[in-house]
């Protein structure tokens, strides 16, 4: 490889990532090579042989940009040595963290409150499952690296469960927000309260959120049941899905609770809020709400099925909306009508 090849490869790799303008970096590395050649009296090939590969340089530059941490990225295993797989464990002091971000895919995500006061993140690490981790300015981020070209379906046959799961442990109470996202994997959150807002997203898998508090909660799934129990939101709870049923039990979110899905039912029990909106299609809506029916202003309707709620009722201090098609509506009230 000569200097021009090296720089071309660096440029291509940087441009393929979201590094931003590359000219400055290219001219920097061009200078480095020229100086190395001149000052060490090396020829181009030899100078390049002593450098990191263009791909490795690009990876570190992108990494340092996304994490802004000067910590050099871990060295990749040389090609002729087997990559050491395992579970990486990262710890952080809770007071260092104001926001936790996980952007993953094809991975289960488990979040648990624990009695310790630090935060622990466990993620698998293999030749094909790689992450960028950063902790800077209060933001703790675990970002799954883009798919490599040598993508192999055998990946999903990995039998060790620890290699298919990211675990996040946090103190029971944490002054931070969470923005967690995966796909094709179950998301399961239990026993913690956040001072900030929380957003949990996955697809094609079940979601379980139990005994969780936050300033505001957004839960998004698809093609999998969403099961919520004992949720305390300071403001609102928003749950959206498609083709997945939603069950919400013991919910307290004073401002609003919105539950929306399709082709599946919605079940509520003791959802305490000022504005409750439930919408689905081809599925029933059922459950039990606190107070009396007369506490609510109601709008309800189904195109095909029984409905025990008035289609329209005014006057209550709270608002309830229940809409579906091809399904019945049966919502009762703790203290009767």
């Amino acid at each position: 490889m000569n200097r021009q090849d090296y720089l071309n490869r660096l440029q291509l790799t940087l441009e393929a990532s979201d590094f931003g303008p590359v000219e400055e970096a290219i001219s920097y590395f061009n200078e480095i090579l020229e100086d190395r050649i001149q000052e060490e009296g090396m020829d181009e090939e030899a100078a390049i042989a002593t450098m990191e590969s263009p791909e490795e340089v690009a990876r570190k530059l992108v990494h340092s940009k996304s994490s802004a941490a000067a910590d050099p990225a871990p060295e990749p295993a040389p090609a002729d040595e087997p990559f050491i797989s395992g579970v990486r464990i990262i710890n952080a002091r809770a007071e260092q963290v104001r926001k936790i971000i996980i952007k993953d895919r094809n991975m289960r995500l488990k979040i648990r409150g624990w009695s310790r006061e630090d935060i622990e993140l466990q993620h698998p690490k293999t030749e094909r499952i790689r992450y960028d981790f950063s902790l800077q300015d209060g933001e703790m981020a675990l970002i799954r690296q883009p798919m490599e070209f040598s993508f192999n379906l055998l990946l999903f046959k990995n039998s060790d469960p620890s290699m298919r799961e990211v675990n996040l442990f946090v103190p029971y109470e944490l002054a931070a927000e969470m923005d967690l996202r995966t796909s094709n994997g179950r998301l399961d959150a239990k026993n913690f309260a956040l001072w900030g807002k929380a957003s949990f997203i996955t697809s094609n898998a079940k979601m379980d959120v139990e005994n969780v508090g936050a300033k505001d909660l957004l839960i998004k799934g698809s093609n999998g049941a969403i099961d919520l129990e004992k949720i305390q939101s300071k403001h609102s709870l928003t749950v959206t899905s498609s083709n997945g049923k939603i069950k919400a039990e013991k919910i307290h979110a004073p401002d609003a609770v919105t539950l929306s899905t399709s082709n599946a039912r919605i079940t509520v029990e003791d959802v305490d809020t000022a504005v409750l909106q439930m919408g689905t299609s081809n599925g029933r809506i059922e459950g039990k709400l606190p107070g009396r029916r007369s506490d609510y202003s109601i709008v309800s309707g189904t195109s095909n099925g029984k409905n025990n709620l008035p289609r329209q009722q005014q006057g209550g201090s709270k608002s309830l909306s229940a809409k579906t098609s091809n399904g019945r509506i049966e919502v009762n009230f703790r203290e009767g009508d």
Partner: protein
Amino acid sequence: MDIQLKRGLTEICVLALLARGDSYGYRLAKDSEQLLPMSESTLYPVLKRLQEAGAVDSYSTEYAGRLRRYYTLTPEGWAQMQAFITEWEQLGRVYDFVVRVKEQKNQQPTGGTP
């Protein structure tokens, strides 16, 4: 080493190297070798950050028939070096205290407080 600490150390090393005189990418990487080895790909983002923070400035000048980019320390860079020294003097006192307490404890019979 703690990421944040390491980050701070790489930055202060670059500042100190530049305090000896203006320098350029390849030379900085080489000069860092005895102290805290940094590859060019580690050094580049550090220089970028320092420039963004106004601690370092750069200029191009002709050398052997081509342009070479030199980096130079700004007054803000000098101020950061002074701040580093002040901070670490304080850390040094804490370090001394911790070591002293541990030594005293080691001299006492185990488990007992006098």
